[in-house]
């Protein structure tokens, strides 16, 4: 059996988490998120050039001449692959994309459009709305589930842990200007599920131990429970991270953002089930009476 004194560091890590959350919130409020075309509207073109001498500047210059609003060009995996994003979306003009391709071919040589995404302002605001609703709904559903399964002190701990993970993950996306698109929403939802999963496993053990030992204080009891479930926590995080790492490294450029968000989420999810969820139980002074009272009802 492991015996690490996790509880000695509750306070220190809580302060660290608080700093991380505040920093994330400041970035989220002031800098905001870097929305992709899914949520901002506009056009995204993934292109492959046949000419290896083409560089970002050349491509940006030729796009800038076309009067398409704000243009951003980024390398995308391969030497010859680029992602171009610009504000203008004119999907109603059937020739719009074709014209761009023709102009581009005449200025930098043959290009192949591997992917085109063109999202109008109405659709993008709807997608953003439904993304926010989906995340809120899943938080609410988790809250409801854990409320039914556990006592309110536990629900509060689990929910705080989830908020912690989601806010910090989004904060990191804001700080490094990583793109938020539909698949990031999927990642955030999965993080919510994973973080919950991890917290529930420890809480189940805390509850079991509360029944078993009436004379151990919650401060010590959480530590025992964390240690008892520690090897499971580590093994599951490792296998999940191995799978995610494999997606990140070999799954292609399109899945990079998704797998990165998930990797961050798993790391913070594991951390928060130990250092956010459990200190909440300590702070609320959960004891054997908390669960016994509940069971009598």
């Amino acid at each position: 059996m492991n015996n690490i004194s996790f509880n000695k560091f509750y306070r220190k890590f809580n302060i660290l988490s608080l700093i991380l959350i505040i920093t994330s919130l400041i970035f989220l409020i002031i800098k905001g998120l870097n929305y992709g075309v899914d949520f901002k509207g506009g056009t995204l073109i993934e292109l492959r050039t046949n000419d290896k001498t083409n560089n970002i500047t050349m491509i940006r210059d030729s796009f800038n001449q076309m009067n398409l609003g704000d243009v951003s060009v980024k390398k995308f995996g391969n030497e010859t692959d680029f992602i171009v994003k610009f504000e203008k979306q004119n999907s109603n003009d059937p020739e719009f994309i074709k014209n761009i391709q023709n102009k581009l071919s005449s200025s930098i040589g043959d290009v192949d459009f591997r992917r085109v995404e063109n999202v109008g302002p109405k659709v993008s605001s709807e997608l953003l709305k439904s993304g926010i609703i989906a995340i809120s709904l899943s938080l609410a559903a988790m809250l409801l589930y854990i409320w039914i399964r556990f006592e309110w002190q536990f629900s509060l701990g689990a929910i705080l842990a989830i908020f912690h993970d989601v806010i910090i993950t989004l904060g990191i996306f804001s700080i490094f200007s990583l793109e938020i698109n539909l698949s990031i929403v999927a990642a955030v939802l999965t993080i919510v599920g994973y973080s919950m999963n991890d917290t529930v496993v420890i809480f189940d053990r805390v509850r079991e131990n509360l029944r078993k030992y009436s004379d151990i204080k919650i401060f010590e009891l959480t530590n025992i429970s964390i240690n008892e479930t520690l090897s499971r926590t580590i093994i599951t995080s490792v296998t999940t991270l191995l799978a995610l790492l494999s997606i990140y490294l070999f799954g292609g450029e399109i899945l990079k953002g998704f797998s990165l968000a998930m990797i961050l989420g798993v790391i913070f999810g594991t951390y928060s089930s130990i250092y956010i969820a459990n200190p909440v139980l300590v702070a609320l002074n959960v004891s054997q009476r908390t669960i016994v009272k509940e069971e009598k009802d």
Partner: protein, 517 residues
């Protein structure tokens, strides 16, 4: 309970074999529809175009309101009630009634049996909302009146869209309603959506109207410009013939002028109308107008009575083919706007499949090696469960012909990583139990029983997230939620049937050993 009945063992094996068979059938090329099913690949994997179209209903509403004014005038005239000052302000019809008629007009408009303002029993609403202000009446579409109008125009539009897409002949297009003013068009395998986009972007409202110099024409006149020149012409508003009367159109070569034209044939009514108009209009110019632009305006040399004719107008063979196609498929009730487009080229799709499979294999191997390193014999059992799990997951997706997307593949890999969790929970619990319990069979049994609620709790939370994603997400992301959700179910099956069966066999056989786990 480590004991398994024979029946249970056999059914688990049969179940597993059936789904593994379906999983494997993706890689065989049998022609049998039932025994060889395939997972559908999403547009992001097989390449193709996704178009979301929105109907612009404003012109339809205006048209209907104008028609309604005429209907109202006629209706009240028949009832010998005189109304005056009809006007259309935006979407509101306004008219005045005389003092003594107010009550009757109001009754006719608000009656549930009303002929002029239909009442829908199922919606508990009239077609129009009526607001009275002294002797002024304001009529505008009620919420449900508008819904019905939009639904009707969507039904009509989707039919036309289907005809146009079918005519182009792409393989297995998917055309669906979205809400009451949107149409989703999925075109698998289509690399270049430009042609379809330009075909769907045209209303294709075809009319034949005479060009006139006389602006005092009784039907009124309008100034229209030519399609490919900067010229304008004044045409009479009287419509001789419209696209509705066309029964066929095809591109042909005019042997005299050697140019490509679109030849058309008319139905009986159309032929009669056309014959009559051309015989009275010899010497006049007849403008052929498509969506408010004059394509050409040939001079009528002789009456055309055969019910067929030609449209000329600097066509290439392609543009003549497209025009013929548009005319054959009919006019859209209202213009369609493309509000979202996503196109993935086939080679990018293939790259995504390759990358997805590579990362699946690597992720899978990493997890398998880690589990053997950690648990030895039991790691092997967990891995066997994991492999079965993968077969079941792919088998179920195949059986239901679910759509696999790139995020869906990510969901499968994630399932691989998270599926071992349940076995880990059980094994760790068993380890704890063996400390206090010397009999391995009892310890193993306790390990399974005591971890059950935790495993259920943990999986239900992920299932909730998958569910919400399924209902809120769109396209590729939906594919992720499907694999994630199905993955949880197959995980529970493989853990509680496959792994448990193997564990019990192993434990019973090696119960004399000192440390099993």
């Amino acid at each position: 309970m480590l004991y398994f009945s024979k029946l249970r063992i056999i059914s688990v094996i049969i179940f597993t074999i059936i789904f593994s068979y379906f999983a494997l059938s993706n890689f065989t090329k049998l022609d049998d529809r039932f025994f060889s099913k395939n997972i559908n690949l999403g547009l992001d994997l097989q390449g193709g175009s996704y178009l979301l179209l929105e109907i612009d209903n404003r012109p339809v509403i205006t048209q209907r309101l104008q028609a309604k004014i005429i209907e109202l005038k006629r209706y009240f005239k028949d009832k010998e009630i005189s109304l005056k000052n009809f006007s259309l302000n935006g979407d509101i019809i306004t008219f005045e009634a005389q003092e003594q008629d107010l009550e009757q007009v109001s009754k006719l408009l608000n009656d549930k049996e009303s002929d002029i303002n239909q009442y829908y029993q199922s919606y508990k609403s009239h077609e129009f909302d009526v607001i009275e202000n002294n002797n002024l009446f304001n009529l505008n579409y009620s919420r449900y009146g508008l819904v019905l109008l939009k639904n009707a125009s969507l039904d009509q539009a989707i039919e036309i869209v289907r005809r146009r897409v079918d005519e182009v002949g792409t393989n297995e297009p998917n055309i669906l309603k979205r809400g009451n003013d949107r149409i989703l068009v999925e075109l698998p395998g289509l690399d270049d959506p430009n042609r379809i986009k330009s075909l769907l972007g045209k209303t294709a409202n075809l009319t034949f109207q005479f060009i006139t110099q006389n602006s005092e024409e009784s039907f009124g006149t309008e100034k229209l410009s030519f399609e490919d020149e900067d010229r304008e012409a004044i045409v009479s508003k009287r419509i001789i013939l419209s696209g509705d009367n066309l029964v066929d159109a095809k591109p042909t070569m005019n042997s005299q002028t050697n140019e490509t034209v679109v030849s058309f044939s008319l139905d009986r009514v159309g032929a009669k109308k056309f014959g009559k108009a051309t015989s009275t209009g010899v010497g006049k110019q007849l403008a052929i107008i498509l969506d408010g632009k004059i394509i050409s305006a040939p001079t009528v040399r002789e009456p055309i009575v055969g019910g067929s004719g030609q449209i000329s107008g600097n066509f290439t063979f392609q543009s003549a083919t497209d025009l013929a196609l548009l005319l054959r498929s009919g006019a859209l009730p209202a213009p369609l706007n493309i509000i979202e487009e996503r196109t993935v080229g086939p080679d990018l799709g293939q790259d995504s499949i390759d990358a997805g499979i590579l990362s699946l294999i690597i992720g899978f191997l990493l997890v398998i090696i880690f589990m053997i390193y950690k648990y030895r014999a039991f790691g092997l059992i967990a891995n066997l469960a994991l492999i079965t799990n993968l077969f079941l997951l792919i088998g179920i997706l195949t059986l239901f012909e679910a759509t696999l997307t790139l995020p869906g593949i990510a969901g499968i890999i994630l399932t691989v990583g998270m599926a071992v969790d349940a076995n880990v929970l059980i094994f760790e619990r068993i380890k704890e139990e063996t400390k206090s319990e010397k009999n391995p069979i009892i310890a193993f049994d306790a390990g399974y029983t005591k971890s059950r609620t935790t495993i259920l709790d943990a999986n239900i939370t992920t299932l909730i997230a998958a569910f919400i994603l399924f209902f809120m997400g769109s396209g590729p992301v939906k594919g992720f939620s499907v694999t994630l959700g199905v993955g949880i179910l197959t995980t529970l099956f493989s853990v509680y049937f496959i792994a448990r069966l193997l564990t019990s066999l192993y434990v019973v056989k090696n119960k004399e050993k000192e440390q099993l786990l």
